[in-house]
Amino acid sequence: MKANGSVFKYGDNVDTDVIIPARYLNATEGAELAKHCMEDIDRDFVGKVRPGDIIVAKKNFGCGSSREHAPLAIKCAGVSCVIAETFARIFYRNAINIGLPIIECREASERIDGGDQVEIDFDSGVITNVTKGESYQGQAFPPFMQGIISAGGLVSYINAK
């Protein structure tokens, strides 16, 4: 499985309130949530994001609330992967459980800039920065989590057991 897209770059501690503000949490459908994705941190995001694009951020991405609406909004906005130095733990679980690919990679988080073209090979964990001609080794998931992702999320994983 591979991803390929243009990068939207953010900093440390991107919280779930800016990923999807609570004023929209009365909605549960991904498509509706996606219309307001990143609205309070980047008003241009929704207008600019194209299917396959990639979010790159620094430390503690997704901190704050447990709202699954956050990874769901990102996934339904068309984002193919989120790369960060670290993820907040509930966001990390949620992303795996709903099938939004995420990768922890400090080097990629530091080197990649907004607008860079980036390719990700999920099997090897290798992140290629096409724009800069560099590659970085991301952390592959432990086999157990890979199992959930391969099954297409936690629900399918449980159904298959």
């Binding site: 309130d17 503000p21 004023r23 949490l25 549960t28 907040a88 509930i90």
Partner: protein
């Protein structure tokens, strides 16, 4: 190698003699919790499962608290979805308008969690119940759905940070100041993926309400859970609120911690978190005048009876400053009733504050106290992110109920000691 308190609870729930940090386990759950925001998503996920029966109708709790009484049509639809689900599955612990409270105040009050339990909740502040010596942590809606059906959840066994508490907090220092101090010290990702284990002879000087507040905000340091040892105060609380048997787990003497911090409670001062991160803490007295437009006293962090008593002590015989809106929200119906009986509600209203039915409302910018551009709020809630309580150009300052009440009176962020 010794285990931490959290590791011992997880080992017992995974049917293992020993677990190590980093190990992936599947643990049996004593309670699976959801609210009106997260449960509808979980209910939809559950519809995709082969097995659509809840594992135990006594061990799934749905609490309507975020946007109720329904703030709009979509919120009404969400609550209706939860209500119908609870009816269909015969859930024992469904709490709606009239019985509800803010989930993390209500769950311990109703005795649904006791020491030694393993609990997941589709709400990040589920870590609150560590105050009772339980393992409890926030998850998302899909984990909640899986938990409702299987009665189990997967966990990566956390390593831990130990916070050795010594001494006794001073006159205007509460559990809120303790946890804000800690978050300021280690940062919003200082405990990422880890347990925060609180120990030391200072624990006995913290009330159960203080401990709930401290564990409640473990997530604000990135923690997986916060946990206190089970002492006489915890046992007394459980006996008063629950008929369920409890199990006491203690960390081994040779338990490994990634770091150990000693905190002298007597040296702490009332602390305020500045926008827009809980880690931006400053002790009161170290900053200049900050005028406020609103003061919120409530939430799963600080809407308990001792919080209302602290606020009422300051507001008694005083008036909320002209131009400041002071909103008081008792966290549960029982707390509301107790406050009424003690005359606290009368004190609030005479002071010019408003008192609301229990709701998470303004804490997450839902309703009941949204901020306009440029407005500032002193709040006893738990997050001060950009746009958390309303407009992206508004500001939230986090503090204790005493500081919020004193600030409501003076119209600027103030130490309660100024009013003495």
């Amino acid at each position: 190698m010794g285990m931490t308190m959290t590791q011992k609870i997880l080992a017992a729930h995974a049917g293992l003699d020993e677990v190590k940090a980093g190990q992936l386990i599947e643990a049996d759950l004593d309670l699976v919790l959801g609210n009106d925001i997260t449960s509808p998503v979980a209910i939809n996920e559950m519809k995709k499962m082969k097995n659509q029966t809840v594992f135990d109708k006594d061990k799934v709790a749905l609490i309507m608290d975020h946007f109720i009484p329904n703030k709009d049509i979509k919120s009404a639809e969400n609550c209706k979805c939860c209500r119908e689900f609870a009816m269909r599955h015969g859930l024992t612990n469904y709490f709606d308008v009239g019985e509800m409270g803010i989930e993390h105040a209500l769950v311990p009050e109703k005795g649904l969690v006791v020491a030694g339990d393993a609990v997941i909740g589709a709400d990040s502040h589920t870590c609150t119940y560590g105050a009772l010596g339980a393992f409890s942590t926030g998850v998302g809606s899909t984990d909640m759905a899986a938990g409702m059906v299987t009665g189990k959840a997967w966990f990566k066994v956390p390593s831990a940070l130990e916070f050795v508490l010594t001494g006794k907090p001073g006159r205007w220092v509460s559990g809120k100041d303790v946890i804000l101090h800690i978050i300021g010290m280690i940062g919003v990702d200082g405990a990422l993926y880890k347990s925060m284990e609180f120990t030391g002879d200072g624990v006995k000087n913290l009330s159960m309400d203080d401990r709930f507040t401290i564990c409640n905000m473990a997530i604000e340091a990135g923690g997986k859970n916060g946990i206190f040892p089970v002492d006489d105060a915890a046992v007394e609380y459980m006996k008063e609120h629950s008929a369920r048997p409890y199990q006491v787990y203690e960390a081994d003497a040779d338990a490994q911690y990634d770091a150990v911090y000693t905190i002298d409670l007597s040296a702490l001062k009332p602390t305020v978190s500045f926008p827009h991160l809980p880690e931006n803490t400053k002790e009161i007295g170290t900053f200049g005048e900050i005028k406020v437009d609103q003061a919120v006293i409530g939430s799963c962090t600080n809407g308990r009876i001792s919080d209302l008593r602290a606020a009422a002590e300051i507001l008694k015989g005083r008036k909320v400053a002209k131009g400041v809106r002071c909103i008081v929200i008792p966290a549960t119906q029982d707390i509301y009733l107790q406050a009424l009986r003690e005359g606290l509600i009368e004190t609030f209203i005479e002071a010019g504050a408003v008192v609301s039915t229990p709701t998470c409302g303004p804490c997450l910018g839902g309703y009941m106290g949204i901020l306009a551009a440029g407005e500032r709020c002193i709040s006893t809630t738990n997050r001060n992110f950009v746009g958390r309580m309303g407009h992206v150009d508004s500001e939230v300052y986090l503090a204790s109920p005493a500081v919020a009440a004193a600030s409501a009176v003076t119209g600027r962020i103030s130490c309660p000691c100024e009013l003495e």
